[in-house]
Subunit: 340 residues, 2 copies
């Protein structure tokens, strides 16, 4: 069977079914943001993420410094999504022979910078030649007192997100619309500052005020942990898109969800830019992905600065639009292997 | 600077120099087979290995089942090299869109088979699309009561290897010499049994008796732990080749080594096949790599079934040949990025 028929999530499901005799110390395994393993009195979290040139990133959009940042950031986000603290990072890197050692230095500078910010130690890895394109595979080890999985949501819980959504997806679209001269220039200048040039005059006007922050969100996402998780029943980070990631919580918790379109938070920058492009900002917020915000469920009396976007219900998955119309939603967003 | 000038080990050295403020619970980090981290009373081992199609394996040589076996086996070997027990495996896999889901099923069958043999649980991972070729990145977590690094060898210690060397390198050379018809047939038939056909009539005669075991060693290495490690001062697994890996022990322990060429163990199969090819079997044993045997140093009074091949000395790296001639050796074998 072609992989495009079964899809990424179908493949994971098949793999999961194969895993029998899971030892009791594995508190969470395949199908969560990170695995959680009890070792003595300590709960260890382990997450792995692979980033492949041409699939997950385009070197004409990003500097290696920014790429290094993002490489560790997406792993930190997975540890935060389990309620944990990131600790030790392992980098396996496949490097094409035509790369310069300065490129890899820059990549590691980006990794070390964000590692320092979050108290993460670079503890090992593997370095090898790649046939084509840069391949980054990271493993981040963390720990947690209380593990929060995707499986604890209960009917009546509120659904929350920790930040505005859709900026990253819009940022990516903007990068794709850049003039190719600008792209190649970025590397020649070794300039780490963002640049953006396009033939769309409306976007040019918005440039530094709205457009650059969106691009920055895409290139260098900044994960933020949830401080108080005592009332949180389930959590996931938004990497594939709100609708997909909320569906993961529904699947694992065996519940349904209702969300209100007009409660999904979007930034002023996204609204402005979408307006210039005559696009719906909510489309980016619901299906965009790579937000690396946290999506969580909690008892409704939780005190939080996060945005409440809906409620967990017994079954069904619904979105209520700005006119009060209720419709079913599907897990639309980014899935590997599926044809677009 | 071109990576081919600095090489894999130069790159690792640079990275290591960047790692400052290493937290005290990291007992071993970059520059060993696995990292060792103390968590409460438990010492955790973490190793990562990347295998890239066209660099580390050739799908016309191996079935996906065999590849799955080797993928986990090389990681298990790293944990054994630290004196540890393998426990939890995480697989990050980048899959080209044209692969079939059956290929991935077969890969996982190979992984699950060897996982079962060594009591390893598959605990998570990441699955994504690859632009070109299959990419396997594995992280294996283990534990150990006593961590054995590359850094404990002392002058006067004996140097030992746990099995014959060079079989795998010869096996790879034989696979490369195969008729292309045979290679493609292997996949059409989904036949997991080894086949070998060549135009070299001498090799044909040796076929099942000598040649097939060598190929098997290359495709499906079987790591074996060292039972009693109480007198072992340093250890490494032979992945890049005896001379390189012994040099790593010398570097980390700041000692020298003398080995005796005629004490390096070689299998009858390797001797027979090398004879037919008019090649020196010791060349494969010293520089071949991918043996996944253990190379260790220990006080000379150790009781062991391993082969003693030399002694640790204060400084210098020497090989004494069958005629008693002493010459310096260099770390020759496999290094990524270096031009061959």
């Amino acid at each position: 069977m072609q992989l495009s028929k079964i899809g990424e999530f179908g493949l994971i499901k098949k793999l999961r079914a194969k895993c029998k005799n899971i030892p009791p110390e594995i508190l969470a395994g395949i199908g969560d943001d990170a695995a959680a393993i009890k070792q003595g009195n300590i709960k260890i979290l382990i997450t792995t993420d692979m980033m492949i040139e041409g699939i997950h990133f385009d070197p004409s959009f990003t500097t290696f410094y920014q790429l290094g940042h993002k490489f560790l950031a997406v792993n930190i986000s997975d540890i935060f999504a389990m309620g944990g603290k990131p600790k030790y990072f392992f980098t396996s890197i496949g490097i094409p022979k035509n790369y310069k050692s300065e490129d890899i230095d820059e990549l590691y500078s980006g990794i070390f910078k964000i590692a320092g910010k979050f108290g993460v130690a670079i503890a090992g890895g593997d370095t090898c030649t790649s046939k084509k394109g840069l391949i980054l595979s990271g493993t981040l080890i963390g720990s947690a007192d209380r593990i929060i999985t995707r499986a604890g949501a209960k009917a009546g819980d509120g659904i929350f997100v920790t930040s505005t959504l859709g900026d990253s997806a819009m940022g990516l679209m903007l990068l794709k619309s850049q003039k190719s001269e600008v792209r190649s220039q970025k590397f020649k200048n070794k300039n780490r500052n963002l640049k953006f040039k396009t033939r769309n005059s409306k976007l040019e006007t918005l440039n530094s005020r709205s457009v650059l922050p969106l691009i920055k969100k895409h290139l260098t996402p900044e994960p933020v942990p949830l401080r108080n998780t005592s009332k949180v029943s389930s959590m996931i980070d938004i990497s594939d898109g709100l609708l997909i990631d909320l569906s993961h919580i529904c699947d694992e918790s065996r519940v349904g969800a209702v969300i209100y379109k007009d409660k999904v938070p979007v930034s002023g920058e996204l609204v402005n830019t979408a307006k210039a492009l005559k696009a719906d900002p909510l489309n980016f917020a619901l299906k965009g992905g790579e937000d690396y915000a946290l999506l969580f469920t909690a008892s409704p009396d939780i005190k939080t600065t996060a945005f409440k976007i809906g409620e967990i219900v017994k079954s069904g998955r619904f979105i209520i639009d700005e006119n009060g119309r209720k419709r079913k939603f599907k897990p639309e967003g980014y899935e590997h292997f599926k044809r677009k």
